[in-house]
């Protein structure tokens, strides 16, 4: 449901021009201003060359052809050829420089956005679904790119051509020029009317398309429900309705286009007719040379092309404004975890953890941790135990400073985690999550996470020490074997071992482990237990334990219940105490069969 609705948000369109957004966009273009200037100069050159053509034709007709001056004609032809060739080079160079600027600026914006996302805390990612953020980084930037590709500069070029042609016509013969401009007010009126309708239908069709996409996505995700209830036909009819609306909206825009674009041709023909009529009169009165009339016929055609293009570019502009607004809004989101003014950079930790009266809540008023206080001495191994929702994972999240605590403090080696430089703090912590996240790429990359600081030998060594080596060697390409999407080719146990190798390769003084609950076969279970011992050797460890064998070799157990610490002690002490732990123990660790 969430994704389906998100589709609709994406498609809302705003203004086609927003000064503030344009200024923000220009900041990204600024570093390439020399390229922009070059592109503009080339644009002038291209337009100039295109305007020269008809003028040279005029000179050729009136001066040389009329006087039967063949040599003069040759000169005119060569001049014409030069405008053609220069126009070719400058047009090509212009489009390249502009695209270059656009690509560079968008690369900058894209990487800035990505970097910005890397620094957000987990609360941000809880609120923003991955799909939506993806749209920002990929699709919205693509839309902006189009602005450079075919939008803004082409638009400038169109305007320039329009003005240039008009000036050239006025210079050539102002009377004929004014006569050919007679259709202009009518055409402007038609263009405005068209633009307004085109915008509305464009908006409509985008909205309906978004609805159709949302409906489709929901249908596909809910297919099991549709089929279970035998509602295929009814569901299909609903889709057909939306599809029909979509078709009708588009048919409407086809109507508008079919009226507007041919009517521009009509206006152009009327102008040509007027020029011929007036030109004919003036030729007969010998007030104008025939070549001028010929040149005018050509100019009129060039006058109408940019007007048509301008109307077409409007939609691109509109979509780009909407995209840039969403991108800039995302860039405005502040980091919610404040970095300390004078951060502490640890050298090598002793590995002492202390929670002092810690409260944490994800939503205000609903604390998930209450009054949590405990201390883990350097090298000590402590297990966190409790039912689902007792607050085990929250303790880990708070320790890694994925979230800030509401009250109380967490100290590592006696210093509050909020005083630490966030990145250096995390560099001391080795985190192994129960849902092992695998990235696409090969096995080695999944151990090193692509960090160049982790050398090949260290990857192999880590894999060997946690017994991951055996199954990796069995893969056809060993460490170079590609991990399929979300690791579907690896078994649960193998993924566990891989994540152990990852933690070992990074060699952190404090280890935080969320044990996997899923059951694995006995052989793998033994491997995992042995690997775990290697991993924990000489490190402080906080473990969410699901396995009896793990429970039995930790130094101490903390029992959580509903966000509070309820019992604390060794396995034997807690069992003897006969409280929550003894019951949990019976519940969780006593094998069923």
């Amino acid at each position: 449901m969430k994704d389906a609705q998100a589709h609709q948000d994406e498609e809302l369109l705003g203004k086609a021009y927003d000064g503030q957004l344009i200024r923000q966009l220009l900041r990204y273009v600024a570093p390439y201003r020399l390229w922009v200037v070059a592109s503009l100069l080339l644009l002038f050159l291209t337009t100039g060359m295109q305007l020269l053509g008809p003028y040279i034709t005029k000179v050729a007709i009136d001066t040389y052809i009329a006087a039967r001056d063949l040599h003069g004609l040759n000169v005119a032809v060569v001049a014409y050829l030069i405008t053609v060739l220069v126009g070719f080079v400058s047009q090509y160079a212009q489009s390249y420089t502009m695209q270059y600027t656009g690509q560079r600026a968008m690369h900058d914006l894209r990487t800035q956005l990505f970097t910005h996302l890397q620094r957000q805390d987990l609360a941000f990612f809880d609120k923003n679904p991955v799909g939506r953020l993806m749209t920002r980084v990929i699709n919205d930037i693509e839309t902006l790119n189009e602005l450079f590709g075919s939008g803004v500069i082409a638009l400038l070029g169109d305007l320039l051509t329009l003005v240039g042609v008009a000036v050239a016509m006025l210079a050539l013969d102002w009377r004929l020029a004014l006569i050919s401009f007679v259709t202009f007010p009518f055409m402007l009126r038609a263009t405005t009317a068209y633009r307004k309708r085109a915008r509305d239908t464009y908006r409509d069709s985008r909205r309906i398309l978004a609805r159709m996409n949302a409906y489709l996505q929901e249908s596909i995700s809910g297919m099991a429900t549709v089929q279970t209830f035998g509602q295929e036909a009814r569901h299909f009819n609903r889709f057909k309705e939306i599809n029909t609306q979509h078709r009708d909206a588009l048919l409407k825009s086809i109507q508008y286009n079919a009226v507007f674009f041919p009517s521009i041709e009509l206006f152009s023909a009327i102008s040509v007719g007027l020029v011929l009529w007036a030109g004919g009169v003036m030729i007969l009165d010998e007030r104008v040379l025939p070549g001028v009339v010929v040149a005018f016929v050509q100019y009129v055609h060039r006058l109408f092309t940019p007007i048509r293009d301008l109307a077409e570019k409007y939609n691109i502009l509109q979509a780009a404004m909407a995209s840039s607004e969403r991108v800039f809004k995302l860039l405005d989101v502040q980091e919610s975890l404040v970095e300390p003014a004078t951060p502490t950079h640890p050298v090598r930790l002793r590995g002492e953890i202390e929670f002092k009266d810690v409260w944490l809540s994800y939503t205000a008023g609903e604390p998930v941790l209450r009054e949590i206080s405990f201390r883990v001495a350097p090298g000590e191994k402590v297990a966190l135990v409790g039912a689902t929702g007792a607050g085990k994972t929250s303790i880990i999240s708070a320790l890694c400073r994925f979230y800030d605590v509401e009250r109380g403090s967490i100290r590592i080696d006696g210093i509050d985690v909020r005083e630490w430089d966030k990145r250096t703090l995390r560099q001391q912590l080795g985190l192994v999550l129960q849902d092992v996240f695998l990235f696409s790429g090969d096995i080695a990359r999944n151990i090193s996470l692509g960090d160049p600081a982790v050398a090949e030998e260290r990857i192999a060594e880590a894999a060997r020490r946690v017994h991951a080596h055996d199954f990796i060697e069995r893969l056809p390409e060993g460490f170079r074997a590609v991990v399929e999407e979300r690791g579907s080719t690896l078994s649960q146990g193998e993924r566990q071992l891989l994540s152990f190798a990852r933690a070992l390769a990074f060699d952190r003084p404090i280890l935080i482990l969320d044990e996997a609950t899923s059951s694995v076969d006995t052989a793998t279970e033994l491997l995992i237990q042995d690997a775990l011992k290697t991993l924990l050797l000489g490190r402080t460890a906080l473990i969410i334990a699901h396995r009896l064998s793990t429970i039995q070799f930790v130094d101490r157990i903390i029992v959580l219940h509903k966000g509070r610490i309820r019992e604390e002690g060794t396995h034997q002490e807690l069992l003897a105490h006969g409280g929550i732990y003894s019951r949990l123990y019976e519940l969780q660790y006593q094998p069923l069969a």
Partner: protein, 564 residues
């Protein structure tokens, strides 16, 4: 015939100029040619209008049909298809590929017909004016098509590279965001940024490479038509100067030459459209070529007026794919009409698979499942699905109103039925808290239901169908035990005379069932009534013991317990 008007214009211009230049005695004709030009343009507008609306309209209608056909087909595909196909991929086919296909039909067909007609007529008229000059001026023009073809292939390759790389870039971002916890925990932000920077830079380079080639198209077109114009100006100019050609003819000739440029470019453009469109069509047809689920292929023919609800499984073994291990092995079970059957067992023991086979969401092997003594595949699919009320483990609700969601399987129910169902599912009090009651929208625009509310809505959705068979697959996992007990108590009346299958992790849900089976690794390992199973002291008994403990733990107050 559309472009007749357009094609007439240069001819009329030619005649007009020649007339004016012939001398003052022709002054009477002054208004004639301009008027004819406007008339010709008017005719052209009318033709263009019909031409555009019909051809583009035609492509839209085909698109509409095609989309309907695919969605109708999707509805009937086996569920397995959707577990193996990514939603994003399907969506992209239904949107992007559909657009490419439609463009091939609309723009493509229009461009081909338009180009063919314009080229033929323009050439003819040029030959009429001056065959020799036509030949010379055409020298550069075919090279437009050749060049566009040549560059076209390269553009196509580069375009594909850019698209591919974009997909790499997207995948990278998607994984990075989905795995942000690992990225941040291992302080890999900068490393990831560097990697992203590289990918983005490569994307930029690929794009610029595309621009490098694509950028040629327009200038090349301009330069070649410019060259043709140069030749005409040179050779034609000489002819006019020597008196073997009139000025009007030269201008008219120019006009036709200009008209040729666009169709030449269009040919290359159409080839691109065709390449993309046909690739898209292949991807779309792939969906249509996937066979629909067995139930839709051969409709059952048994005539059943009313399903009573006796369910019989005969030595049922099932695997999802031919090479997958057996999920169910040798299940034999009879559930007499009007009785309740409880199914318990660990996660992955095959409980959900077993009940998914009943409405034929997956296809059971022949001769294994019978309802009222009729084999499943003999029953008409609609009759079967109407007879089963199903509440699945993962509830899917649509972003419509609560009313629409409850009435999903029975559009004809009265509002009384609706309220009764909501009452039975203990949903009424939750609904009364919403401002719009039953008309409250679900999803992002409306309210978000809690897990328990979702399950109760789904229960109401199943009840309102008034089905002889009710299947509850772990339907109360997010509902607290007290509410569950209330629901079950109320449901008892409703379920009288109906067959019910209750899957649960909680003993309390199934303990009152007429028979209970314990599934382990796809086999029935224990069966009997609650008391019989307890007496066995086996799996069921141990499960029961654990749950007593859980309840004890849950009952512990926040202040109870002690610190050892």
């Amino acid at each position: 015939m559309t472009d007749v008007g357009g094609l007439a214009i240069p001819w009329l211009t030619k005649d007009a100029l020649d007339t004016f230049l012939a001398g003052p005695e022709r002054a009477a004709a002054l208004w004639k040619y301009p008027a004819l030009i406007v008339l010709a343009a008017g005719v052209q507008v009318i033709f263009r209008y019909f031409w555009r609306t019909h051809l583009f309209g035609f492509s839209r209608h085909i698109e509409w049909d095609f989309r309907n056909a695919i969605v109708a087909h999707l509805q009937r595909l086996p569920l397995r298809y959707f577990t193996h196909t990514k939603t994003g991929d399907l969506m992209s086919r239904l949107t992007n590929d559909m657009v490419s296909f439609r463009e091939m039909l609309g723009m493509g067909v229009m461009a081909v017909i338009d180009a063919a007609f314009t080229i033929a007529t323009s050439l003819l008229l040029m030959v009429v004016i001056d065959p020799w000059l036509t030949l010379w001026s055409l020298l550069p023009l075919p090279s437009i098509t050749i060049l566009v073809l040549l560059i076209g292939n390269r553009i196509f390759d580069r375009y594909r590279d850019v698209q591919r790389h974009l997909s790499t870039l997207s995948t990278f971002v998607q994984e990075n965001l989905a795995g942000i916890r690992v990225v941040q925990a291992y302080v890999q932000e900068e490393n990831q940024q560097r990697h992203f920077d590289d990918l983005s830079r490569e994307y930029q380079a690929l794009n610029l490479d595309l621009v490098k080639h694509w950028g040629y198209v327009t200038p090349v077109m301009t330069v070649l038509s410019g060259l043709a114009a140069t030749i005409v100006l040179w050779l034609g100019g000489r002819k006019v100067a020597m008196g073997t050609m009139s000025l009007g003819e030269l201008v008219g000739f120019y006009g036709y030459l200009g008209m040729l440029t666009w169709p030449m470019l269009a040919i290359g453009y159409v080839i691109n459209l065709y390449q993309r469109g046909s690739a898209a069509l292949v991807r779309l047809l792939e969906i249509l070529d996937t066979p629909v689920a067995a139930g839709y292929q051969v409709p059952g023919t048994a005539r059943v007026s009313k399903v009573c609800g006796e369910i019989e499984l005969r030595n049922l073994s099932f695997r999802y794919t031919p090479d997958a291990p057996l999920t169910l092995q040798g299940i034999t079970l009879t559930i007499p009409a009007g009785t309740w059957c409880g199914i318990v067992g660990e996660t992955g023991s095959g409980k959900t698979t077993l009940v998914s086979l009943l409405p034929r969401l997956y296809e059971p092997p022949p001769g294994t499942i019978f309802i009222d003594g009729i084999e499943l595949c003999e029953l008409p699919l609609q009759t079967l699905k109407q007879a089963i009320g199903f509440v699945s483990q993962d509830i899917f609700l649509f972003s419509e109103t609560i009313r629409d969601n409850i009435l999903f399987g029975n559009g004809g129910a009265t509002s009384e039925d609706l309220e009764t169902a909501a009452d039975l599912a203990q949903l009424t009090s939750s609904i009364q808290e919403f401002t719009h009651q039953f008309d409250t929208l679900l999803g992002e625009r409306g309210v978000r239901l809690s897990g328990g509310q979702k399950q109760r809505t789904a229960l109401a959705r199943a009840i309102v169908k008034n089905p002889p068979i009710l299947i509850l697959d772990d339907a109360f996992s997010s509902v607290d035990i007290e509410t569950e007990e209330r629901i079950l108590e109320q449901l008892k009346g409703f379920m009288r005379g109906r067959t019910a299958i209750l899957i649960s992790h909680r003993i309390s849900t199934v303990m009152e069932a007429d028979q209970i089976v314990y599934l382990k690794d796809g086999r029935i390992v224990e069966r009997g009534s609650h008391e019989e199973l307890l007496a066995l002291r086996g799996y069921y008994y141990r499960l029961y013991r654990r749950q007593l403990l859980t309840r004890e733990l849950d009952a512990l107050s926040d202040n109870g317990g002690a610190r050892a």
